[in-house]
Structures are given as structure tokens and as C-alpha cells.
């Protein structure tokens, strides 16, 4: 034990708790305010933090229901929030599945199969993933704009175009999963190879079952990354019913149509499930992250 005086220890403890509580209060402030705003009447600040006339209007609208005010006027939902959520979840689930499949197979090859140029390719993957998609936006727009002439499925305003582009997010995950595969005892697949298993068979029968934890990490990471994407979705999607949550939510805080209260309810409704998934998964995420990034 470190030798410390009782009284200084107590002051330090007090200071530490005081700092933590103060900091957390500051960090939580936006969330608490948004909850309050979602129950407040109207869409503008009225000079109070706790609503004196709480109303469920914004929540009705967020769920896509008409709301009848006390004076009989009926308010219609401004935007299809639930539809946007569904679009986001659908695109994210398909893209994450694809990314998972591609990156697991590639990671296996990089970890276990000997071939020429392996180290070079791995280095290339690492360098290429440093380049953000923002650099590619214009070309992606131009390409999908023309592909739309062949088939609208691969054109602008199609979810499939977006999914296909998100598949390119495999590079970092190949590294993450490879780090995990590297930690699996080589004796396992050597034994399988001696028994006559092809690389594909040892991948299917040995590595895939063992990789379930890291695969769930990659799935959740990709899923969240896709849901959070704004630049790509904002240039490839057009019509209101096709938007993802990230692109659609922005419409609420338009200068000319400022729906602060409606946004607050919609933000909680859509943000809560994703945040819960993340908090449940984060314990595994952190170990996955550090394993993937530190081990080469």
C-alpha cells in the first residue's frame, strides 16, 4: 500500500468525487434538456427548463400519429421518423452482414494462408483505410448518377447503391479480425490440415465458430458506423421517404422551419435504441478495439 495520511486521502476522495459529479453534470446537460424540450409546448424556447404545461404532442408526432390539441386543431407529423429509422436499420443490417462476410474471409487468409505479397497487401489496406470516403464523394456521385441510367436500383436515391458503397468499409475490420485470428493457436489448423482439410474447410469448421465474439464486435461497429454516416447518404439519397435517420433528422432544424420540440422527441426515440445496443456491446467493443489495433 502507498503510505498516505488519512486526512489528505479524505480530501482527495472528496475532490475526486466532486470533480466527477461536476463533470458528469456538464456532460449530461444536453440530454436532460432534450428530454425536457420533448415534453414542452411548441417549438421555441419559452424561458423555462422544466415545462410547466407538459404535453405529449411531440411524442405523438414522432411516432407518426396525428395529435389533437386542446383547442381541437389537429397536428400532422412533419416527417416519417419511424420510416427513416427502418431505412437506417435495414441498410445498416445488410451492409454490416456484407462487411462481416468479406472481412472475416479476408482476415482468415491474411492470418493463415501463405501467399506472395501478403505483407504488402496488408500494409496497403492499412494505408488505404486512412483515406476518408469524403475524398471519394464526387466520383461516387458521378458514377452512381450514370449507373442509374442502366438500372435505377444502382442509381441515385437507391438504398442498394448505398449498401454497395458501405461494403468498402472492410479494410479496418480485416485488421481487427486478423489480430484475433493471429491469437488462435496454429496447432489447431495444422492438425486439421494434416487430417486433409482444405483451407476453406478449416476456415468453416475451426475459425468461424471461434470468431463469433470478434464477429459480433465488427457487426456492431459497422452497424453503428453506417447508421451514423451522413456525407455518403446525403449525396446518394434524395426523396424524403428514402432518407436515413442521419440525413432526415437534419430537416427538423431548418432555418425556415424550425421544429425544435418535434426534433427532441424524434431524437430520443431514434437515439435511445442505438445507444442501448452500444452500451451493452461496448465492453466487448473495447477489448476488440485494442486487440485489433495494437496487434499487427
Amino acid at each position: 500500500m502507498i503510505v498516505e495520511k488519512k486526512s489528505t486521502l479524505r480530501t482527495r476522495k472528496l475532490l475526486a468525487h466532486g470533480f466527477m459529479i461536476g463533470f458528469i453534470a456538464l456532460v449530461m446537460f444536453p440530454f436532460l434538456v432534450v428530454v425536457s424540450i420533448s415534453f414542452r409546448e411548441g417549438n421555441f424556447t419559452v424561458g423555462e427548463l422544466i415545462p410547466s404545461n407538459p404535453t405529449l404532442e411531440h411524442w405523438y408526432l414522432a411516432f407518426g400519429l396525428d395529435y389533437t390539441r386542446a383547442d381541437g386543431t389537429v397536428v400532422e407529423p412533419p416527417y416519417p421518423v419511424l420510416l427513416w429509422m427502418w431505412n437506417s436499420v435495414k441498410i445498416a443490417a445488410i451492409a454490416a452482414t456484407g462487411v462481416l462476410a468479406i472481412s472475416t474471409i479476408s482476415a482468415y487468409a491474411f492470418s493463415r494462408v501463405r501467399f506472395r505479397g501478403r505483407a504488402g497487401l496488408l500494409d496497403m489496406l492499412f494505408i488505404v483505410q486512412m483515406f476518408p470516403t469524403t475524398l471519394a464523394l464526387i466520383a461516387l456521385y458521378a458514377v452512381f448518377d450514370s449507373l442509374g441510367d442502366i438500372s435505377p436500383i444502382l442509381g441515385i436515391d437507391s438504398h442498394w447503391s448505398l449498401v454497395v458503397v458501405y461494403l468498402s468499409g472492410v479494410m479496418m475490420h480485416i485488421w481487427t479480425i486478423k489480430g484475433y485470428f493471429d491469437s488462435i493457436d496454429p496447432a489447431l489448423d495444422k492438425a486439421a490440415a494434416i487430417d486433409g482439410a482444405t483451407p476453406w474447410q478449416s476456415f468453416r469448421m475451426i475459425f468461424l465458430p471461434l470468431a463469433v465474439p470478434i464477429m459480433s464486435v465488427v457487426f456492431v461497429l459497422t452497424f453503428i458506423a453506417v447508421i451514423n454516416d451522413y456525407p455518403l447518404a446525403s449525396i446518394l439519397l434524395r426523396s424524403e421517404e428514402n432518407l436515413t435517420l442521419a440525413v432526415g433528422s437534419r430537416l427538423y432544424l431548418n432555418e425556415f422551419k424550425y421544429l425544435w420540440g418535434d426534433f427532441a422527441a424524434a431524437a430520443i426515440l431514434s437515439g435511445l435504441p442505438i445507444s442501448v445496443v452500444f452500451l451493452v456491446a461496448q465492453r466487448y467493443l473495447v477489448s476488440g478495439l485494442s486487440e485489433g489495433s495494437v496487434k499487427g
Binding site: A16, P30, F31, G47, S106, A109, L121, P132, L137, S293
Partner: protein, 511 residues
């Protein structure tokens, strides 16, 4: 392991034949896609798709490429949707691609040739008359009008003659039906007894319609009415008249260093770019420093053995990381709104100030940094907690026994040990924030604007968001100019990426 290629497929002969056929079919389909892409005016993308098709054929068609099958999908998607688009964007920086020069040359010519003038003196309102499965077109007139011969209106081009009638037909179809048939109606010509050929001109009328231009040899165009000659100028991508006037739409063409000359030559663009570049670097560096400092501080306190409720603190501190960033950013956008926002409401009540978060450049930048620190410190904290565990407890104890205080121990023992493994992650964070356009676009939209610029440039714009706005927002989709700026970003990111690569090498070499 490569020798096992001979037994790669567990199926018998028929299974292998099916597999071979499948490879052939997919390859042919991909080649067809490549050709179609080439044909619609994206030759470079067509070549890339062709390479992907040939790669597919080689990798899956030949047993000797067996091991490559595992990495082919990853490499192919990377080539198609990351590497190719980045270089293609940069290539576009050497073209005039943009809202004025959107089309290929052939399409632009077609659009100009399809321009038509309507001779208003011959215009007559029309109505459709059902005649069995076919239709007659009635053109009205003060004195009765003309009724055409029956025509099927199935989309085929046809010329029918019309005869004068004394009275309008008893029953005409509703306007809505004519609107629905406007496609086929466009193909119909009606020859009147006076020799005029009338064509559909708008939703209500038929009139004498003549094309404005006709094509001459070597792609020149002649304006039919004035006889003026238009020559295609492939340097600028426009048809020009003899006295230098350009005719829209233009087509996309290679203009060499034109965009770069604009960036470096015109004060109205160079000025803002220099200031945006400086802010981008400052923003990324400050974000890394703030998030790292706060994250590390919190992690250090959370590691302290005497602290209780660690788990609770930890979950609450991670919360900003768990909530989707676009939602948090938009929440801050509302809270920081200088007129309706809750932050100014509280500041006014407590300190009686109302900072101009949206219109003052310095305050807008401060706002950006506050929000980005809020968003980014949990990630740093999580990483720091991992690295702190690797610092041996004995060294710290020894230092304490020698009489060092906790601050000194932190700076002399803990920090020097965690900086090296942290370095690649800090560089990655710098690179991320260097292109953190989601934050800028959603929080400030780049504003407030820098005064006196040719293209809209904001004081909170980073290079990436500036490019995005040039390409996709208010200033009229100047893809070429945006592509040229992308090249500048590309060079800078390359430098960061290389530095990160070296740092990563060093860090892994030590482990």
C-alpha cells in the same frame, strides 16, 4: 497448404462443372456491366469493372489462384469503391465537370438540337375525341375547326391529315386523358389543308414547331432562323458563336490545370482556402489535444484504487460515445442556437450575456471545439484506461516511496510509458478530425461566411466540408473545382497516413 488446391471442392465432377459454368456466367455478366458503363460515358469506371471481371475469372476459374479467392472480395470492393473513386475525384479536378458542364458531348449536342421554336400564329387549342380503340384530334377554330383522321396513339411517329368540320365534335375527352397521352401525342404530326404541319406544343396546343438548330458536318450547328454557326469548343466544353458567346448546356471536358489556376490565381478563392486550411489543422490538433487531455485525466481518476462507484461513473462518462453522433450534434445545434437556444437562455439568466454562437466566427469555432471535445473524450478515455493498466504498479509505488506526489508520478512515470503506444491512435484521431465534415456540416454548416469571397466559404469550414459545399450545396455543384481541392486534401492525408503507418510500425515492433 497450397498443395491442397487439388481437393478444394468436395463435390464430384458434375458439381465442378456447375461451378465452372457459374464462374463463366458471372464473368460474362460483369463484362457486360463493364461495357454498359463504358457506353454511358464512364469509360474509366468501365475499365475498372472490366479489370474486376477479369480478376474474378482468373481467381475463381483457375485452381492455381485458390488462395486469392479468400481476399478477392475484399480487394475488389476496395478497388471499386475506395481507390477508384478517390483517384477519379482527383481526375475530375482536371475537368470542368459541374452544373454547367454536366453531360457528355453527345448528350449536350442532343439537348441543343432538341430545342424547338413554336410559331404562335399557327397555334390552335386541341381536344381528344375517342374513336373506337383509336383517337381523333380536334383543333378548334372560331369557325368550327379541324378534325384529324383516327390515330392509335401507341407511341409510333405518324402524320395524319385533318379536315375542316363545321361544328365541334359532340363529345371530347377530358383534359386529364390528354395529359396522360402526352408522350404519344408528341410523336404525332397533323397536316392541315393549307399545308402547315402542326405538332404538339405544350399541354393545350398544337402549332407549327421548327427545330432551332440543324447539324452541319464536323459537329457544327446552324441556327435555322438566323443562319448563325455554332462551333464546338473542346477547350471550354461549350458551343460558341462567332463572337464568342457560349450556349448552354456545356459538356465535360479536360481543362488541364484550369481549376488549380482558379484556386491559386484568384484572390477570392486563394484567401479563403488559406484561412480554411489553417483552421482545419488547428481544429484537428486542438480536438486531439483536448480529447486526449480530458480522456486521460478521467481515466487516471477512474483507475484510482480509493475511488468508489467507478462502474457508475464509467457508464455515465461513456454516454456521449454511445449516442449516435449525428443526434448529439443536432441537439447541440439546437442548444447553441443564439436566438432560440437553451444555452443562451441560461447564460442570459445567470451572467446576462448572449454570445453570438452562429454569427461570430471566433465563437462559432469555439462552439465547434466544445462539441467535438464532448463527442470525442470518451473514446480517448476508454483507450487510456486500457493503456494505463499496462503501466507497472511497482514503479509508481517506488516513486511514491521516494516521496513523489501523484502529479509528479503521472508526468514522470505514467505519461512517458503510454505516449508511444498512444501515438498511432492520436494520429488516427488527427486524421479523423481533419476530415470531420459531419460535425461541421450538421453543427454550423460552415458558417458564418467569410466576407468577400467568390465561392461561399465559412469561418468554421474545414477543407472537407468546404469541398462538400462546393460540390453539393449552394454554390452550384462545381465538381471540377471540388475535385481539385480534393487533390490538396489527398496530399495532406497521405502525409498523415504515412506518419501514422511509421508510428504504428514502431509501436508494434516494441510489443
Amino acid at each position: 497448404m497450397t498443395q491442397s488446391a487439388a481437393i478444394e471442392m468436395p463435390q464430384g465432377r458434375p458439381g465442378r462443372l456447375v461451378a465452372k459454368a457459374l464462374v463463366a456466367v458471372i464473368t460474362l455478366a460483369l463484362i457486360f456491366v463493364a461495357y454498359t458503363v463504358y457506353a454511358i460515358g464512364q469509360p474509366i469506371f468501365g475499365v475498372v469493372v472490366l479489370l474486376v471481371a477479369l480478376g474474378f475469372f482468373y481467381v475463381f476459374g483457375f485452381a492455381r489462384a485458390y488462395t486469392a479467392r479468400f481476399i478477392y472480395p475484399g480487394i475488389a470492393t476496395m478497388a471499386l469503391f475506395v481507390v477508384f473513386p478517390i483517384f477519379y475525384t482527383i481526375y475530375l479536378g482536371f475537368t470542368n465537370y459541374g452544373s454547367f458542364n454536366l453531360l457528355t458531348f453527345e448528350r449536350a449536342q442532343e439537348v441543343i438540337l432538341s430545342g424547338r421554336s413554336v410559331d404562335e400564329t399557327t397555334a390552335r387549342p386541341f381536344a381528344l375525341v375517342q374513336d373506337g380503340a383509336a383517337y381523333r384530334i380536334y383543333l378548334s377554330d372560331e369557325s368550327g375547326g379541324f378534325l384529324s383522321d383516327p390515330v392509335p396513339l401507341d407511341g409510333s411517329a405518324e402524320t395524319v391529315s385533318a379536315r375542316p368540320v363545321a361544328n365541334p365534335p359532340a363529345e371530347t375527352m377530358e383534359r386529364r386523358a390528354a395529359v396522360q397521352l402526352r408522350g404519344p401525342l408528341g410523336e404525332i404530326g397533323i397536316a392541315l389543308p393549307d399545308g402547315n404541319l402542326l405538332r404538339n406544343a405544350g399541354l393545350r396546343e398544337f402549332a407549327k414547331v421548327t427545330p432551332d438548330f440543324e447539324r452541319l458536318e464536323d459537329n457544327r450547328l446552324r441556327h435555322v432562323a438566323s443562319g448563325e454557326i455554332l462551333t464546338p469548343d473542346h477547350e471550354t466544353g461549350f458551343y460558341t458563336t462567332a463572337d464568342g458567346e457560349t450556349i448552354a448546356p456545356g459538356w465535360r471536358t479536360y481543362i488541364g490545370l484550369g481549376n488549380f489556376e482558379r484556386i491559386f490565381g484568384s484572390e477570392g478563392i486563394r484567401g479563403p482556402i488559406v484561412s480554411i486550411f489553417a483552421w482545419t489543422v488547428a481544429f484537428a490538433a486542438a480536438s486531439v489535444v483536448f480529447t486526449f487531455a480530458i480522456g486521460l485525466t478521467l481515466a487516471t481518476i477512474l483507475q484510482w484504487e480509493h475511488l468508489r462507484f467507478k462502474a457508475v461513473y464509467r457508464v455515465l462518462l461513456i454516454l456521449p460515445y454511445a449516442v449516435p453522433a449525428f443526434i448529439s450534434i443536432l441537439i447541440f445545434r439546437g442548444l447553441f442556437n443564439q436566438n432560440f437556444g437553451e444555452i443562451n437562455m441560461i447564460l442570459e439568466a445567470v451572467f446576462n450575456i448572449r454570445p453570438d454562437w452562429n454569427t461570430d466566427g471566433t465563437l462559432a469555432r469555439t462552439m465547434l471545439l466544445i462539441v467535438n471535445t464532448w463527442l470525442g473524450y470518451p473514446y480517448m478515455m476508454l483507450l487510456a484506461m486500457g493503456f494505463l493498466q499496462a503501466v507497472p504498479e511497482e514503479q509508481k509505488k517506488a516513486a511514491y516511496l521516494e516521496g513523489a506526489g501523484p502529479v509528479r508520478v503521472f508526468f514522470k512515470i505514467t505519461l512517458p510509458q503510454i505516449i508511444p503506444p498512444f501515438l498511432p491512435l492520436l494520429l488516427a484521431s488527427f486524421a479523423f478530425n481533419f476530415n470531420n465534415i459531419v460535425l461541421v456540416l450538421l453543427l454550423s454548416g460552415g458558417g458564418p461566411d467569410i466576407p468577400g469571397t467568390i465561392i461561399p466559404a465559412g469561418q468554421t469550414d474545414i477543407l472537407g466540408s468546404f469541398t462538400y459545399r462546393i460540390a453539393f450545396q449552394d454554390s452550384g455543384t462545381q465538381f471540377g473545382l471540388a475535385g481539385a481541392i480534393t487533390l490538396i486534401i489527398f496530399v495532406l492525408v497521405s502525409i498523415i497516413a504515412y506518419a501514422n503507418f511509421v508510428a504504428m510500425r514502431r509501436a508494434t515492433a516494441k510489443v
